[in-house]
Symmetry: C2
Subunit: 334 residues, 2 copies
Amino acid sequence: MTVSRTLSFPHLVSPETREKVAAAVRATGYIPNRLASSLASNQTRTIGAIIPTLRNSIAASFTDGLRDTLRRNGYHVLLGNSEFEPEDEEALVTEFLSRRVDGIYLTGSTHTERTRQMLRENGVPTVEIASLPQDPVDMAVGFSNYDAAYAVTRMFAKQGYAKVALFTTFTKNNERQQERQKGYWAAVEEFGLDSDPRLVSEVAMDLKAAAQNLIALLERRPDVEALFCTGDFIAAGALLEAQRRGIRVPEDLAIAGFDGLEIADNLNPSLTTVQIPRHEIGVLAGQMLLDRINGLPVGGRVVDLGFEIICRESTAKNLPRELTFTSLQTEVHE
Amino acid sequence: MTVSRTLSFPHLVSPETREKVAAAVRATGYIPNRLASSLASNQTRTIGAIIPTLRNSIAASFTDGLRDTLRRNGYHVLLGNSEFEPEDEEALVTEFLSRRVDGIYLTGSTHTERTRQMLRENGVPTVEIASLPQDPVDMAVGFSNYDAAYAVTRMFAKQGYAKVALFTTFTKNNERQQERQKGYWAAVEEFGLDSDPRLVSEVAMDLKAAAQNLIALLERRPDVEALFCTGDFIAAGALLEAQRRGIRVPEDLAIAGFDGLEIADNLNPSLTTVQIPRHEIGVLAGQMLLDRINGLPVGGRVVDLGFEIICRESTAKNLPRELTFTSLQTEVHE
DNA sequence: CACAAAAATGGTACCGGTACCATTGGACAA
DNA sequence: TTGTCCAATGGTACCGGTACCATTTTTGTG
């Protein structure tokens, strides 16, 4: 009736009627039922976002940008975490689809075959972030994990380090970490670094695990010169353990991290890291989803937002700052 | 028709029919529409959760427990962040109510009057966490911020410190921080500590701000002996700045934090802090919501899950460990 | 074999909105 | 005065499920 119109298109209704409706709404404490509205109008103004975990703030800072963009446009975010399990992700996608979200945001590009199929058949706008998938489900915005890890390892090589260790977090179901490891190996090979597999290990994403791993590494290879951690928390854990053991950073052991978290800049010594444009990725992902929802032809697009190596004290050694290898680029692969 | 029944109550349907339906579902890629389902059945199996911010992982670790409990019972979480603005919170509550969530989870007990009114009139099960409100909207589970801050300050007093500074995060719209500040002042008064207001300041919740604040504090009061920060990030920032300036902790300046984050245990020196049972609070909050939803009479209940002071190196000084004042309690106020 | 009880299936009226069309009543121009 | 057009309002058929009752089929038992 007229009430619905008053609430949705007030300009089509006379001021008196508008006032009467407003009064009734106030009097009864009426709250429109968005379920009914969504059912009838076939749009929920909701985006389903799946991130691996909420336990660290890194995935969260991606979604922060997403949230900003969406809220500004009257959209909401339904958040789910997959705990790095593609099956859990699949269940969440099913759940989101059954709630008829208008768009889906996925972290990374490792999904089950059924997930990809469901998403494609359903035709719901989808964006994958933090990777540059060969075969995106729909759209993607991220950066090259391979290039970033390669660049850090290369930086170590150019600084004269020959024995560079690598700590990654679990690579299972995580193509970002896999790519970083590949980038490391590529640089190790290219620059003739020590390719002892005992220099490489997988660590849980927490400070304590990183500390213990450093101890183990030092037992295996006491002669290690540099350590690249594909996560700032890992790097922080290792750095703090080095501090406890009186290992001087970077004189005895250079350390670099990955992510560009706040803590990297505040540790002593401050931590060299790879800065990821997390907020920008979230914002752009949101914008791309909105564009697709509004019928703009942006499907199949993969956007590279680049990264930047920030050199700090933990890898200074005796090389000038000019040798920082930054690579912040914005590229669109159609 | 029979299809609906097959999907909801398969045991009421013959195996052949069940198989036929399953085949059709597979063939068409049918995904049930939960909007329609919720509209008709009047339940969404969704809890709306509002947290201040996702930027740090602390609120997230509360909701982790919530999520665990809910998922186990087939419920989902709709997450919103208020950025410490009661008006934003109100808008989110309205949004959640219009989506007919089955329950609402709020952080803290600072809400607009309209929020309280909406929630109460609507009668939706609601739980407030991290505080022990005098007048809960419905249910609450948390701990006494006042007691915890009082206990830490008392600990400093008993250890012989007379000049104890306080860094809180912004107290505006945040009764938790306000309570902690009150607890501090109460202990200052009771134990005759230096009550110079210049010992107290508000800091943004980040490492850099904390570092700068420490510098300012040392200029105002170079004779300060101990520093209590009502957040581990603040404490970490101060501790790292102290490290940079060659200030020995705890010999020159003792530092205590609040929250019991992972980083507290890994800094050098390790940080004394107040451990909050975050996960347990989330789990219990979820359980209470489920109980209310299922008609169990748990309304109006406020549960105190206590806290625990964990003494570490940053406040060791020359007092024995026995003087740690822990207070982990579980109390129910009807 | 007859009949009652139980199991399986089908029919229909909602849930609370939106979309779209129909109707009413002025205002204004010819 | 009459016709046209537009603003404002009202009516109705959905959206895709669930709840509940009615009907049909199967099973069990004396």
